[in-house]
Amino acid sequence: MARIGVFVCHCGENISRTVDTAAVAQALGEMPGVAHSTDYKYMCSDPGQSLIQAAIAEQKLDGVVVAACSPHMHEKTFRRAAANAGLNPFLCEMANIREQCSWIHDDREAATAKAIDLVRMIVEKVKHNQPLQPIHIPVTRRALVIGGGIAGIQAALDIADGGCEVVLVEKEPSIGGHMSQLSETFPTLDCSQCILTPRMVEVYQHPRIKLLSYSEVESLEGFIGNFKVTIRQKARFVDESKCNGCGDCTKKCPQKKIPSEFDAGLGTRTAIFVPFPQAVPNIPVIDRANCLLFKGRAKGKKKDVCGICARTCTRGAIDYDQEDRLVTEEVGAIVVATGYQLYTIGKIQPKEYLRGYGEYGYGEIPDVIDGLQFERLASASGPTAGEIRRPSDGKVPKTVVFLQCIGSRDPAKGIEYCSKICCMYVAKHTMLYQHKVHDGQAVVFFMDVRAGGKGYDEFTRRAMNEGALYLRGRVSKMYRDGEVIKVVGYDTLSGEQIVLDADMVVLATAMMPQLGIESLAQTLSVSYDQYGFINEAHPKLRPVETNTAGVFVAGACQAPRDIPDSVAMASAAASKILSLFSNAELSREPMVAHVNPATCTGCFHCERVCHFGAIQRKEVRDRQGNLIKVIAEVNEGVCQGCGTCQATCPSKSIELAGFTDAQVFSAINAIFA
């Protein structure tokens, strides 16, 4: 027979005014298994807690029910008190007879009857409570950051500065991301490279950051605090330990006309190249697809057709036979910061639901460019050394038309969301243009100007005041007419159709997650939305966590983000990780699911409903080693304790500690006892 103690609180008069607390205590005292039942004015006070503790000792109680306020208020208090008296805290529960009884009913008789029911239910539940121990999980205090753009750089630096090691993985040959391509940044118009480059160098020189550039995450095992990640270091064909970054090889490379990715196709690079002068690490990489030697080898030529770079290199750093290497790193937490890419404008689209803008002639009319290309034209390090010259003939354009919301907010083209940053960068572009071309006219076609943010609205107004002509409406067609581009649009404010002669057109295209992010997300078991943006664990309360414990998200891979937002998210993720790393062990509530291996049939309904990936597959073998069955197993470090698995399990072979079937069953029965 159980020995439960029932402690009914008056809460001053908060409870006793409408509930006859003495009657509740008496009724419960008569219940089988209740060894002790009493009422008191304030159970949460020191004397009240002492009363409970004394009863635990004297009456040898094996369970405690405090009938008082909401467990959200004082469950911790009473569990601590019980623990201090030597009772496992999880054998103590609260019956809520204040918020859910005395405060909401004025009929004393009905309220007392209900209070008795409520306490009985909890008493019956507690009879089936099990002593539980907090779960301890060792934590590897080392983080992996995926993506070396501004978000990844910030997260890596914050974590490393906090005293923990970081592995930073970047798929491109250099870190820096899109921010390194920008000329100036809104709303301050400070030079992007000037603020970014020092941070890149800091990453490179940081004693606690291990930079793996030109590398990608291949696979992931484990769980929070204990991840094992396999990273593919793609072959650069340049030995990083020997190269000193002198750049002689790139100067001698005969393949010079390759469109430069960094210059968004407006400039050229060589086949062995460093993406941009400030690249970190400053080590070249050979682009196999364009290198004469590799092209020759691909054609099966016995003798290498080139090899100039190897002959040029005085340090013997060029290694044409280098192969991809797989490295394994153990980390305790992960930040996903893979950033964005721009919507492709033309007819050929990477995804089925996307529709391009054939009507804008992008790719056919050379002077129709996208926002990133304009950044490169405006950048002092760009192909025109910062002069605004149009790609077709190098002339300085006198009228530049900017179109906002290309892709964004256009369900017909496949994207419903607002890309958030375009209103701001278009305003910036008009200013940069007009600062550089004093007699130039910037014209903007917009749907709305969305400039929420510190100093943002002021910034777009400044653009308008400085002479940019803002026309509210969409452009329906553009075509080449001699030297100019005819832009046919509609001004909805004046109600007139407008045909403009533009020298150059800049399309503010939507931000999309990087292609291939879905497969990375699957590798990491994090969820993503219909566009591929990584889902945060909770849109308000857990904005930088994902549904997988220990995996965090920062920057534009979660949603369109500007630089300040990305940096803020990165720092938030870093601080979450540092707090995770502040203890050698992760301690958590033991309310997790457990599988009954005897009855589990291995249908894995639990695995399908588990949002957190806490269900693993486990082989059960007999003594001879023959496989008997494969069953589910819960990873305690990952389980969040929602219990959806248990309700789904047809044979009830998985149980959530603290809310087991026996506990709920008994509580239901108690109501009608």
Binding site: S70, P71, H72, N96, R98, E99, Q100, C101, W103, I104, H105, D106, D107, A110, A111, A113, K114, D117, L118, M121, A537, H538, P539, N547, M591, V609, H611, F612, Q640, G641, C642, G643, T644, Q646, A647, T648, L656, F659, D661, V664, F665, A667, I668, N669, I671, F672
Partner: protein, 166 residues
């Protein structure tokens, strides 16, 4: 041969119990209703109703679970078996689930369950499903009062309760 004719050919048994449909059968009838609620939204919302001293019918007994995802149709069956006249299942609004998606799984499960019970002749008014957020103390009181009223109108769930006596 077909199930339809099979069902017809067999002698139709007497209805096993008074289906409990006559409104106002029991004068002064106070139904017992069990509510299965999630810890994070509805339970907290009900606490808020208390903190705001919103008065409501005293007929509901609440069982707190971590998530609507944990609520099993077996609970509802057992509640009816033990004598509940009505059952409430309540949790977080879509997109508010503390565990992100437990409420979506519950929504599917109880959509089927509800339709099935209706098909078997259990009045849908005996089963109430609601989303009540932590800030909706008022809504919780309305759910409680509304469910109580509807079950009162139906009368005691004699049909179910008398299944054992037969």
């Amino acid at each position: 041969m077909s199930t339809a004719t099979t069902a017809q050919q067999k002698p139709q048994a007497e209805p096993l119990a008074d289906p409990g449909l006559k409104p106002g059968v029991a004068e002064g009838f106070e139904p017992k209703i069990i509510a299965f609620v999630c810890n994070w939204c509805t339970y907290t919302g009900a606490d808020l109703a208390g903190t705001s001293r919103i008065q409501m019918a005293p007929n509901v007994r609440m069982i707190r679970l971590p998530c609507t995802g944990r609520i099993d149709p077996l609970f509802v069956i057992k509640a009816f078996e033990r004598g509940a006249d009505g059952v409430i299942v309540s949790g977080c609004h879509p997109a508010d689930c503390h565990y992100a998606v437990g409420n979506y799984h519950a929504r599917r499960r109880f959509a089927i369950f509800r339709d099935l019970l209706e098909f078997l002749g259990i009045e849908p008014d005996r089963l109430t499903f609601s989303w009540v957020s932590a800030s909706e103390g008022k809504k919780w009181s309305e759910v409680v009062n509304d469910a109580t009223q509807r079950v009162k109108k139906l009368g005691p769930f004699a049909a179910y309760q008398s299944l054992v006596d037969k």
